[in-house]
Each structure stands twice: as C-alpha cells, then as structure tokens.
C-alpha cells in the first residue's frame, strides 16, 4: 500500500454463472480522491461496491485495505426501521449524541418530524434520514450507492457540497450515480 491509499483493487473479476460482469479491474482509492462508478443497469456497479466492502468475494483478484480504514456505507437499502420514530432510528444509528446532529437535522428539514414513525415519511425524507449516517460520519472512506436518488434539488446541492468538503478534508469517496453531479471525480465505467 502506498502512503495515502485507502483501497487498492488488483485485477478484480466477477462473474455470475458464465456471465462476466467485469474482468481484471484495477484501481486505487486515495484520501482526497473520488471514484465515480458508472454503468448501465445490471453492469455490476453495486456488486463492485459490495466487493470493495468485503461483503461479496470476487471471482478473481483481491482488495487490499489500509489498516486505518473506516468505511461509511449507504446502499440501496436504508437500514432504517419503519416501525420506529425518527428519534429512535437516530438512536439506532448511534448518532443521538453527535455534536452536529441538530445542525444537519435543520439543514435537511427533518427536525420537526423527530417523533414521526419512519413509515409515515416520504421516500425522499427517508433517504434524507439515511443520509444522516453520511453527514455525521467519522470514517475516512465513504461508499455510496446512488446517493442522489429521491433527493430534492436543495438536498442534492447540500450533499454535493458536503462530499466535496469531505474530499478537501482528505477522505476518500466511491460512489455510483445515474444522476449528474458536480463532484470532481475519476470515472470508472462498467460496460462488460
């Protein structure tokens, strides 16, 4: 591992049955850099993220992580409990004592819904709640799967700004997105 590298992928391949999703992918994520993974539906973007996260094993190749690596992941599934209130979910995420919690609740406009059950929130509001995990993260690598889906223009802009600031602070970012965004990033396009 080089000094600033968070993750190094060496010749990663993945296939489902005989269908090759990607073959011999190699890349390096350094602190302060972003990698935007693009591709059509079913091209393996989420699978690649799961391989980076260590949830799925690649068919071939390996992922090397920095010893100090701490990951914040937001996937398609929000990991929220629909039957609990927003306040309880924030407790579950262990963010209830975070010093910046109120600031971000104000920013995304959810402060007045703290005692509303998550099932009563709209899709976009649920997404914003899930984004608190990202806004209040204490990790050095952010891995986000379609983070802009369901967000209004204001929150889209706030998230873009936030992620850009995180990059300036030296954190790494890997994300997939079909929605155009203004984050300065390297591009990895998966097209079989």
């Amino acid at each position: 591992m080089t000094d600033n590298s968070l993750i190094i992928a060496n010749n990663i391949s993945y296939k489902i049955n005989e269908n090759k999703l990607f073959h011999n992918l190699s890349f390096d994520i350094k602190g302060g850099r972003a990698l935007h993974i693009k591709g059509k539906n079913g091209s393996g973007k989420s699978t690649l993220l799961r391989i980076i996260l260590g949830i799925t094993d690649p068919t071939k190749g390996s992922i090397n992580s920095a010893a100090s690596l701490q990951i914040c992941y937001l996937g398609h599934k929000n990991a929220l409990k629909n039957y609990l209130t927003m306040r309880d979910n924030i407790h579950l995420l262990q963010l209830n004592n975070h010093i910046k919690l109120n600031k971000y609740l104000d920013l995304i406009g959810l402060k007045k819904h703290l005692d509303v059950t998550v099932s009563s929130l709209s899709f976009g509001q649920q997404k914003k709640l899930a984004l608190l995990r990202v806004f209040l993260n204490s990790s050095n690598l952010l891995i986000l799967d379609e983070p802009f889906v369901g967000l209004d223009d204001d929150t889209h802009e706030q998230l873009t700004q936030f992620l850009s600031n995180e990059l300036i602070e030296g954190k790494g970012l890997i994300f997939t997105s079909h929605i155009p965004c203004q984050i300065k990033s390297d591009l990895l396009e998966l097209n079989n």
Binding site: L53, I55, Q70, I71, K81, L84
Partner: protein, 215 residues
C-alpha cells in the same frame, strides 16, 4: 452495551413479536385443562409434557423473523461492515429475545405448574428448568432461522427441530428425577453445560451462515 440497548429498543417496540409467543404459551396452558376430561382430577399427569412442548413452540414462534427484518432493510450489511464483532451482536440479540420472551414464559411456567400441581416444592425447580430450556430452544431455532433466512422460517424450524428433541427428552427425564427425588441437580447441570456450549457455538455458526446469505 450499546448493542444490547439497541436490540432491546428494537424488540420492545415490536409488541407482536415478543407478546405473541407469550400469549401462545399462555393459551396452550389455559387450553390444557379444558381439553382433558378423564384426567380432570389428575391434571399433573400430562402437564409437564404439555409445558415443555408449549415452551418449545413459543420459542419457535419467537425466532420466526429474528433476522428477516435486518436482512431486508440492509441492517445486517451495516453490521458486517462495522468493526464490532458480528458474533457478539448475534449472541446479544438472542439474549434480548430470551430476556423479553423466555423469562416471562418461565415465570408463567412456574405459575401454571403451581396452579396445576398445588405443589410448591415440585413447581419451584420448573422456573430454572424453563429458563435454561427456553434459552437453549431459542438458540436452536435461531440457527434454523438463519439457515432459511430468505426461504421462510418454517423450513428452518423443521430442519432444526430434531436438535431440540434431545432437550425435550432430558427435560422429561429431569421431571421424573424431580418427582422421585433422585439426583435432579445432575439434569440441571447437564442442561447448563449444553447451554454454555450452545451460546458460544451458535452465534459463531449463525454469523457465517448470514454472511453466506448476504454474499
């Protein structure tokens, strides 16, 4: 400690999940004397068999969806990604289920036992026996539930039911020993020994099974 608090909060808010098995146990025990005619004055003859089977069924129901929700909403993925030990998390989750379901069922076991036998000395050991057996059953059915995580919980319960049968046999033998006052403590120790192995092994095995499901 924080994991314990979180699991407690999650289960406490899902009233149907923890109250349902307790009510089923209660209903079975209430129904027992109503369905026995010839033995009305000797209810204790079949009582303990029904008691153990009722505990078995209520623990099976308790674990019905123990991982399904976390699997479906992505919480399991988050747990695996975090540095904290997944095995310990599973062990604590089972403990919380036992605390909120197993302990009330064990208390009810003692109450129904005393109500049926009118014998305090015979009923008192039912409480520790129920505590231990309910924890063992929970662990066994958690294993089954993890095996059939995305295929429905009934399949998993059926697969692991044979593992629960020896526990039922030991419970039956234990009750015979208690009634004839012959070395009952050795059965308690046998169950405790089994439990001490199970509470360590099952979370480890279950964690590997769940990781395989997520992959």
């Amino acid at each position: 400690m924080e994991i314990l608090k979180i699991e407690f909060l999650k289960l406490r808010k899902k009233t149907r999940i923890w109250l349902g098995p307790i009510l089923v146990f209660w209903l079975i025990m209430i129904a027992y004397p109503l369905t026995v005619e010839l033995l009305q004055d000797r209810l204790q003859i079949g009582f303990f068999s029904v008691l153990w089977i009722a505990i078995l069924i209520s623990m099976m129901l308790a674990t019905e969806d123990i991982f399904t929700e976390d699997y479906n909403d992505g919480s399991l993925e988050q747990t695996i990604i975090q540095e904290s030990s997944f095995q310990v998390g599973i062990g604590l989750k089972v403990f919380v289920y036992w605390f909120l379901i197993g302990i009330p069922v064990s208390l009810l076991s003692f109450i129904f036992s005393f109500g049926t036998t009118q014998n305090f000395e015979l009923s008192l050991p039912i409480f520790p026996l129920s505590l231990i057996s309910s924890y063992i059953f929970l662990n066994i059915f958690v294993l089954g539930n993890s095996l059939s995580l995305n295929k429905g919980s009934v399949l998993g319960a059926l697969v692991t039911m044979p593992i629960a049968l020896p526990v039922l046999i030991v419970l039956g033998k234990g009750m015979t020993a208690l009634q004839f006052d012959i070395n009952f403590e050795s059965f308690i120790l046998l169950l405790l020994g089994s439990l001490s192995i199970i509470i360590v092994l099952i979370p480890i095995v279950v964690s590997y099974i769940i990781k395989a499901h997520l992959e």
